[in-house]
Symmetry: C4
Subunit: 279 residues, 4 copies
């Protein structure tokens, strides 16, 4: 974990206690901090959503402004806290979460100069990722780990597959353009036709654009059945990946971090180093 490398040297100090509280969720204080922060982020997101509804924002404008200031203070304070308690502030500021935390408060400050920046506050929804920290407590970590591994294993295959789909969409879209563009305003440009092809292959099917000519409908039917069949490809790939991960993951669970798949003779958890129970 990147944080541990960034843990302050001096042991037993307030700064180290702060670090453990803010960046980890192993202690009670840490758990409380994480849950409290998640609640704040969630309520902030919900407020931003409601604010975007004209009827509501018109009614409670002043309240919303107060809340914006409140959350700005809270999140700025949290950011400074994090900068303070890590060993190297630079390293944290450059880390993934560091950038997200900064992006979350930046728009509020920019807003004083450019009001239209207000809308970008929604980038805060990225902070919801922190909620995964809590999953650790409710034993979800293992599941998401397997999922991640399966996704990573299947990733390149799925990328090749998506490239194929895109190529197919470009060609079939262009074909439909040639067939329909004189009779159907929905296919009046090639990019538009490709957009339609993607809508169709992925079986989304808005219906805002639909073929009108007989030839177009025949081609469309072919595209649909094609999309219906090839959706099986990524599924097959991921099924294989997940099954392999499952196999790899049979084994003892760590009582501390719930990670499984330790070797039979392992004594300590390979993930968090805590003692494993006998089986």
């Amino acid at each position: 974990m990147v944080q541990d490398q960034n843990r302050p040297d001096e042991k037993g100090t307030f700064r180290e206690w702060l670090y453990i509280t803010v960046f980890q969720s192993s202690t009670v204080a840490g758990k409380i901090f994480d849950i409290g922060l998640s609640v704040l982020i969630l309520s902030n997101i919900i407020l931003l959503m409601l604010e975007s509804v004209p009827s509501i924002s018109a009614k409670y404008e002043p309240a919303f402004q107060k809340f914006d200031v409140f959350f700005l203070v809270i999140f700025s304070g949290e950011y400074l806290l994090r900068l303070y308690c890590v060993r190297s502030a630079k390293k944290y500021a450059a880390s993934f979460y560091g950038v997200i935390d900064l992006m979350a408060i930046l728009p509020s400050y920019m807003e004083f100069l450019y009001p239209q920046w207000h809308v970008f506050m929604i980038v805060r929804c990225f902070r919801l990722l922190r909620i995964f920290r809590i999953f650790r407590m409710v034993r979800f970590l293992d599941e998401s780990r397997i999922l991640m591994l399966a996704l990573i294993r299947g990733f390149r295959k799925i990328l090749v597959f998506l490239f194929f789909v895109l190529l197919l969409a470009i060609f079939l879209g262009s074909l439909m353009y040639v067939v329909e563009f004189q009779k159907n305003s929905g296919f009046n440009t090639i990019p538009q036709s490709i957009y339609w092809a993607i809508v169709t292959i992925t079986t989304v099917g808005y219906g805002d654009v639909a073929p009108v000519t007989a030839t177009g409908k025949v081609i469309a039917s072919f595209i649909m059945i094609l999309g219906y069949a090839i959706i099986a490809v990524p599924t097959g790939i991921l099924s294989a990946s997940v099954i392999q991960e499952e196999k790899r993951n049979q084994g003892r669970r760590c009582p501390q971090c719930q990670v499984a798949g330790h070797d039979k003779e392992a004594i300590y958890c390979k993930n968090c180093g805590s003692k494993l129970s006998e089986q």
Copy 2:
């Protein structure tokens, strides 16, 4: 099974016979009772549906009212019967089915005070779950058991996945809001944009809201291909779960309750306790 713990002590009495008839389907009387009840519930649901069609309800209003009274009497009687024949009426009333059975008759009584409660009668469709009791007879139990186990095993993974999807929808919806809200009334609020994002990622694609700007269409295409690819994730997870369940489920079948997966040396069914046939 919760019912068995709730079985009256005294053996061979009418009350115990009633209990077996009403709560179990092992005896002929029990089978008849279950089938009859299912038929009544089904016909009640169908009646409620027809009643909601203005043209029909206008024509047969009196008949519908008679039927409402009829079903109210029947289901109330059944509820009292259940309360009577269990050992502890409180325990049954607090059980899952007990609550459903009460909810099924409550609206009819509330209706006398507040007519608008009439519509809530539809909660009775929950009672259709009782039909699963009948599956026991037609050997469907085993299949639904494996299904359930597979779902339970895959449940947490799927929950993590759904959380990811929701997070994705929130972010992509907000993004589309920023891109489209000035040109497209369909994206005039963030919740509305998130609704659109969910409609798109899940490949439902109503088309009541669709992007109009070029940028919006590019992002939409990206979202669709994404949704098309990630639908593979829950599928992969469940395929793995089902395959594992299948493996676990190879073995002898109980001639009584059809449950399989007994240990090689088992002599009695671990589910219903009846003697297993040799292999």
Copy 3:
């Protein structure tokens, strides 16, 4: 095969040769007969489709009538031929294909009495099933056999699953009816709302009916994500079934009928009886 039981006793006669030609595709004459018949059925179907297009039928009305008579004569002749060359005409007439063959010619005769029966001629498309006879020749039999077995194995599980989906649709549809029916004409009856729920859970999403209230959209989003997740269930079931079938199907292929999965020590094909090659 049901036909073989229906094969005439006397060997080497014209009637037996006719039987082999009409009902089997092992001989050259049989292959020619099957292919010719399939071509006729296909062209008949295409004609019926074109006839349903007003602009075309208006132009070529007389030609269509001639073709109707032509195909009536052909198919009637074929039906009589089949009745003649089987051992028991009754048994054939009662068989699956016998009924389809009769249904295919019946509407044309009824048409003389009731012209509106004309439209039912389309039941002939059922006869396309005969085309599967030809797959035998092009080595598709084995694939469709595995597919069938996988479907049969997964059938009951999928039935349970579909029952769940239906139950879900009934409940969620009723819920949406309660939420939307005052503001949205698309949800003015419960059956209509259930129809919408099915359209949504299956991710078809026509968009002819869509929620308008905020509550309705939240519930709809939930339904979509649900449908998105549970589509994984039948897929997982069938993946497991197909994989098991594949395993079962490893083994020698019959050089004659391409059926695989013979026991190691088998000498003759268990399907067509021809000699198996050594491995």
Copy 4:
């Protein structure tokens, strides 16, 4: 590889060096050539797309014409180069890529005679397939190879499945025609109804055609749930295929062409013949 058979005899000449550069990507020059060509093709496709947008093409008409000439010269030169450096020009011209390369430049020449041929320039998007050459460098070859094998293994099964789906669509479409054609202009012909059935079974659901009668909606619901269930079939098939391929693919990787799955005792790569590393 077809190209190698087409490699010129004389070694070490400029012509052979040219061949290796143009047709292979093992040398640095070859890599540069492939990447450069891919960039040119991509930019050409993007230009053709933009050109199809009336507003843009009106503004930059002269620039587009200049680019058309530029790409015509480039691609014609490349085609002549390929014709020159292969051993037998005829063999290359008849090969898959040879035909595509010709098709890519033909429309530009035809345009001088028939301007309306301009639109067919889009066939150039086929040339994007050359980009797969580059995957070789970034180790994607192996993934696409497994994918291909899985697709080929599952191909015939999927074909049988698609034939079933088509048959189903024809029958259900005709059924809906019989039910709806008098009340609903969307079902006024059988082909149109079949088009609707395909749109529904594949869960695309444009909504441009939707049932209006009660019977029609019931049948439609049935079709949707059916399509929802049978989408599992191709997925199951492909999952099985991919899993088998994965199993087959465990083994050593070739350091040169990244192909895996060599026998334990293999010394040279079975694909490109280069020495394998020990394990």
